[in-house]
Symmetry: C2
Subunit: 411 residues, 2 copies
């Protein structure tokens, strides 16, 4: 008998029919002889509706009360799923963050899970019940309601699976049925991966493949939780396992890289001919981070004659603000000017195989050059190489790289 945690996202719970489907799938899993714990998000659109209402009353909304309000969406879902299971003649019980003490820190709207008291969950499972836990929410040590940030139900599911020692944590999606070697809408031959390692998934989730919340992957990696991305549309098909690198190696050692991704929501800004003095970069990036702007890549040229160019990328939504700051301090920094490009894309190839194979970067550069695509910036990590190119080349580049690395070929 296995213990399985199943997480259902908002789009999988957007109607009474879908709620009934999820309940029936929980019952099927239970009847196959497993213990089952469900983790549920708010019904699609509900969190946005509640957030909009808050903004009408207070903008920006008070963070403690925002969490009180938005967490109610998951409370409703958990009750509805439990009812739907009961309507099928099985026993079920819902639990909120305060009832199974999903203890978090007190960072409202972005809290971190510290501990979960699994006693009540185990008791309920011992009585044969299907347990339904409201995702996204917890309580701090003072009993105040907290939430875990967007996509936080993924984190709830993985953390519960860790605490319960679950055999699998299945994350059900409506829109995807796994992790692909590239976006199937861009690359016709994109192939679903049977397995990816936590490290690869981390790089992939931070690159805009919105399959799985990054913090949930970190948590899964830390506690070795076997995660599976699955589809509610074709539940009988295997999805993609996100697991430890060692276990993933069977497939991965034959694969140099596991995926090619791109992110078009990027822009870049360059401060030209900045005097190369200590503290210059620090001054600029402190001002930018003070405005809560996340800088992704930073490249600083080798200094020539005491001057250097500093180029960095930010998401396109932060472009205007970041450009304003840079232009304002350009004089103070002694820069001769500021140039920018709002329309760039970041291409990345990800793969644990890179750790032990050389030549991946040069192959990537060669492929892009053969397509006549100019590389504007480069950054590398152990398992990832990213290149910034003009936005218009992004899809062409992804297809070329996908083909060159043989990602579409069946094994």
């Amino acid at each position: 008998m296995a213990l399985i945690v199943q997480k259902y996202g908002g789009t999988s719970l957007s109607s009474v029919e879908k709620i009934r489907w999820a309940a029936a799938h929980l019952v099927r899993t239970k009847e196959a002889g497993n213990d089952v714990v469900a983790v549920v998000s708010a019904m699609a659109g509900e969190t946005d509706r509640l957030y909009e209402m808050c903004l009408e009353v207070m903008d920006p909304p008070d963070s403690r009360e925002l969490d009180v309000i938005t967490s109610s969406g998951e409370q409703v879902s958990s009750g509805l799923i439990s009812m739907a299971v009961r309507a099928l003649g099985h026993d079920a019980v819902s639990f909120q963050g305060h009832q199974v003490r999903i203890l978090t820190d007190d960072s409202y709207s972005n809290a971190r899970i510290m501990d979960i008291d699994a006693v009540r969950i185990r008791e309920a499972m011992g009585c044969g019940k299907i347990v339904v836990v409201a995702g996204f929410q917890g309580v701090d040590s003072g009993g105040n309601i907290t939430t875990l940030g967007r996509g936080g139900s993924d984190l709830t599911a993985v953390a519960l699976a860790a605490v319960l020692g679950a055999d699998a944590c299945e994350l059900y999606k409506d829109d995807v049925d796994g992790v692909y070697t590239a976006d199937p809408e861009v690359v016709a031959g994109a192939r679903k991966l049977r397995r990816v390692s936590y490290e690869e998934m981390l790089e992939l989730s931070s690159l805009g493949s919105r399959v799985l919340q990054g913090r949930a992957v970190e948590f899964a990696k830390k506690f070795g939780v076997p995660v599976q991305i699955r589809s509610t549309i074709e539940p009988e098909r295997e999805g993609t396992w996100v697991i430890e690198e060692r276990s993933a190696m069977g497939e991965l050692e034959q694969m140099l890289i596991s995926g090619v991704t791109f992110d078009n929501n990027q822009s870049k800004i360059t401060a030209i001919k900045v005097p190369d003095r200590p503290g210059i970069a620090s001054r600029l990036f402190t001002l930018i981070s003070d405005e809560d702007i996340v800088v992704d890549m930073i490249v600083q040229n080798v200094s020539t004659e005491g001057y250097t160019d500093i180029t960095f990328t930010v998401s396109r939504t932060d472009f205007k603000k970041a450009l304003g700051i840079t232009e304002r301090v350009a004089g103070e920094l002694g820069a001769s000017g500021v140039v920018s490009d709002k329309k760039i894309a970041k291409l990345s190839i990800v793969g644990v195989g890179m750790k032990t194979h050389s030549g991946v970067a040069s192959e990537m550069f060669r492929v892009l050059a053969a397509e006549g695509i100019n590389i504007l910036m480069i950054s590398t990590s152990e398992i990832k190489i990213s290149c910034v190119v003009g936005e218009k080349y992004s899809e062409l580049a992804v297809r070329a790289l996908h083909k060159a690395f043989g990602l579409g070929e069946a094994k």
Copy 2:
């Protein structure tokens, strides 16, 4: 410095504007030098919306999960009101049933309050905060979410006022500004009472004057909580105080009765010529109560020649079911037949003055006879006399009684 509990019902929180108004009124009360605790219902329509959704998933819905779901409406309101107070520059904090441990029994959807832990509320008030408590909800000893039944936020407010030793519990209404001597829509000269006793209010609330939940009045009576019904439309006007009989006497001793009410949602059923044997009535009413039908009045004639007629009233919604049961057991009871009248009304006059004044009942009968209205049934208590009449006479009768007892006259 006084401590005031203010309760805002759903219609007083039906829009962002009304939420802002309630917040501003809380702030005014605070700035006048009082400690303030707000108790809030769900926004108008929200509880019904959630209930409908539950019915779609499971009918009848599981009672534990129903409470999990419906209690979320008050959770949202409490957060919104706290935000609205903060938006006005004052400090506020919301609390749910589990956070201030509004401990109830485990009768889901109709739970009774056993205890409230006021420590966190006092602490928050000590820090100068306006405290906003979600009404309607509590937790049982196992930490399961419970709700207090329709109108339950009234009960939360009164119970909190009792535990905190509040100087007043103000219940804000959108549709009424107090308790009247009769329904102002029926009796043009109906007058707002400055004071009524708990006992009178109990009789009035059970008679369909939907101003205040009956259980809340019982609670207020038990703990001597001074309750005031007030209007959000004209908040500067005094509403009606619901207080102890002794304190109310100043006004009441001049008043024989305090109000005339009627309830058109009544029907009556008679089992004719039933053999007058012990256990006959018990047999009939056990079967009826087994179906969760509440019987209001029961009249049994004096036995003649060993036979009696048993007449009882039920709400019109239960009429068909109750009639079916009575007809089914009529033979078993030995009755010669069953007659019924679906369209009757119950007229009641209520007043603590009756306790010490005789002649109220005979005056009532005289007034009805003078109007040519036939009395079908009579029942009396210490402070109430009810007569059943044909439905078509109810408004005429209320106006005649209101005039005869001088209720419309200014004091």
